[in-house]
Amino acid sequence: MRIDGKPEGLRQSMSWLHTWSGLVLGWLLYAVFFTGTLSFFRDEIDDWMRPELHRSVASAETAQLGLDAMQKLAPNATTWTLSLPNARQTAIEASWREPGAAAGRAGTSRATLDAGTGERIEHRETRGGNFLYRFHFELYAMPRIWGRWIVGFATMLMFVAIISGVITHKKIFTDFFTFRPRKGQRSWLDAHNATAVLALPFHILITFSGLLLLMNLLMPWGIQAAYNGDTGAYFSEMRGNRQAAGGGQGAGGRAQAEPGQHAPLASIAPLLAQAQQQWPRHGVGSITVNAPGTARATIELREGGGSSLVNRGASSTLLFDGVSGASRQPHEALAVSWPRATSNVFTSLHLGRFAEPAVRWLLFLSGVVGTLMAATGMVLWVVKRLPERRKLGYTPKGHRFVEVLNVGSIAGLSVATAAYFWFNRLIPVELAGRGDWEIRGFFTVWLLCLLHPLLRAPRQAWREQMAVAALLFALLPVLNPLTGGASLAQSLAHSQWSIAGFDLMMMALAVIHGVIVWWLARPQAAARPAAKAGVRKSTGEQKSGVLATRESGTAAGTAAGVAGASMALEKST
């Protein structure tokens, strides 16, 4: 609503809706974007948070070592699967099924093996990157279904906001490359628009695919109608076709090993060489052995990554006789129907289901842009109301509330995330339920960050929290070798990209937060009168344009600071 209570046109009612739903959902969407963006590196975070794994260095013998280890670990299993080390994983993740084990996940045993020795590694209990990943779509400490509904609802609103935004704001395209720095509200609006519009394909992709990933919960009515609500039947028909289409989840994975003649497994090296030749780009990602130790054994090699999103980034496979090592014909891939192809392309991008690291980085950086979009929007709400505040001569409670919550939810989430990684190393390994304590630590720190701005001027609160976050991030690569992990020098020397990548990412985060601190500390940022903000009539509610001078400039200073920092961030990445 307008301050002066004048009625508005319909376009404005949309912008009104954008402002208020954006405010209410903004904090949620910011957290979802932030943790979701980090989740693009879930595997890397998992590796880093289990420093016991850091001594695992892959070699040419890794596959053979892994198979030998399985021989001792699970000689009677019906099937072994070894996921080999790669750029995102430093150890071997092994899983197997004992004869007569329960179906599905429940019957699968798992172990982590040292890629250099084949020994089983016992690692600390932690939720690792999975906590951040789960949080981004089902939140925490509430029934999963609720969390998914809340996030799903916010996603739906964002999807509508994006599409309606494009349709109603035709000016978007004339302002396409425009950023006007140091102009208070105008700069914030530009930054908010730029992060929204320039990354529009990403925003559409990530919201629509987010809905698709939750669709059976949010929109079960198609299944209700076509299957009379028998969700199981829907899934099994779906899976039946997908398995054929995607090359399958381990062809013949259901084979039961019968007690029969014992036969030693063929040597893996020549098979790997053959596969390597066929897949020069991705190499071998995993090995599945069916009926190991019997005469009927088969060895299936799976490519380290797919080349198409249409089949969910499914990779191709090679099938060999497990005893002779002779090549066998693998199952042929079927064509994928168009609804499934569409759904697969969207969801596999959202999930980052492909090997191409560069595309993953693009998605990550786009996620950063989305995070900035949410943040700039929320700060914009405060900045926009500074003139009103000045006119009143005091700060309305609501404004103060938003201001405090902004600091705590934006800067505070950075501090809490950094603290989460610190707790991973500081909480004793022996402590029972230590994984939960890491998470409790995360939320405790976040809560403190939400309370801290109550005691400080907004500008100080921003600066202090950003400084703490920068410091915590910067010291993580130092903490890592001191608490049992591989130092950056070691991980780089051993090509352990998951570990090195995490340390480097923490340094980058430290720099970003440091730049923001620096911007906030610059005397000019506060002192420079923002002059005429040049807010034209078309930008909405604002009538007069003189904004953010020194005395009211706490938030505006922050405004200029984070805007500049966000641009600097884009520059640095």
Partner: protein, 113 residues
């Protein structure tokens, strides 16, 4: 190389499109008001052709679905880079666009790694 070529070409493409826009034409040393609509159209068309060329490079390197996704992602950052150049170094925009176009074309010829 694919990334480099596609990104640089997209930057040059956006620069050509920006040059044809009212708001940014002056920054490229063109008085858009004085330009004939035909000339404006040429710049704009050239920009879109360059965007197409950059997409083509991605399609050569990746499977269609990944190529389009990667290309759209690259466009975001090319556009952001241009926005920053037009904000903080508008007088260099023109030379920079020429350089990226040339370098992009050069990288285009380098076979994918």
């Amino acid at each position: 190389m694919t990334y480099g070529a596609a990104l640089l070409l997209a930057f040059a493409a956006f620069a050509a499109i920006a040059a044809s826009m009212d708001r940014h034409g002056d920054q490229f040393g063109m008085k858009t008001q004085a330009l004939s609509s035909g000339r404006i159209l040429w710049w704009r068309a050239g920009g879109f052709v360059l965007l197409g060329v950059s997409l083509l490079k991605c399609l050569q390197h990746w499977n269609t679905s990944i190529a389009i996704a990667a290309w759209l992602g690259l466009l975001t950052f090319a556009a952001m880079a241009l926005g920053l150049v037009l904000t903080y170094a508008p007088h260099k925009a023109r030379q920079l666009a020429c350089c990226t176009a040339a370098l992009g074309a050069l990288l285009w010829l380098v076979p994918p790694l």
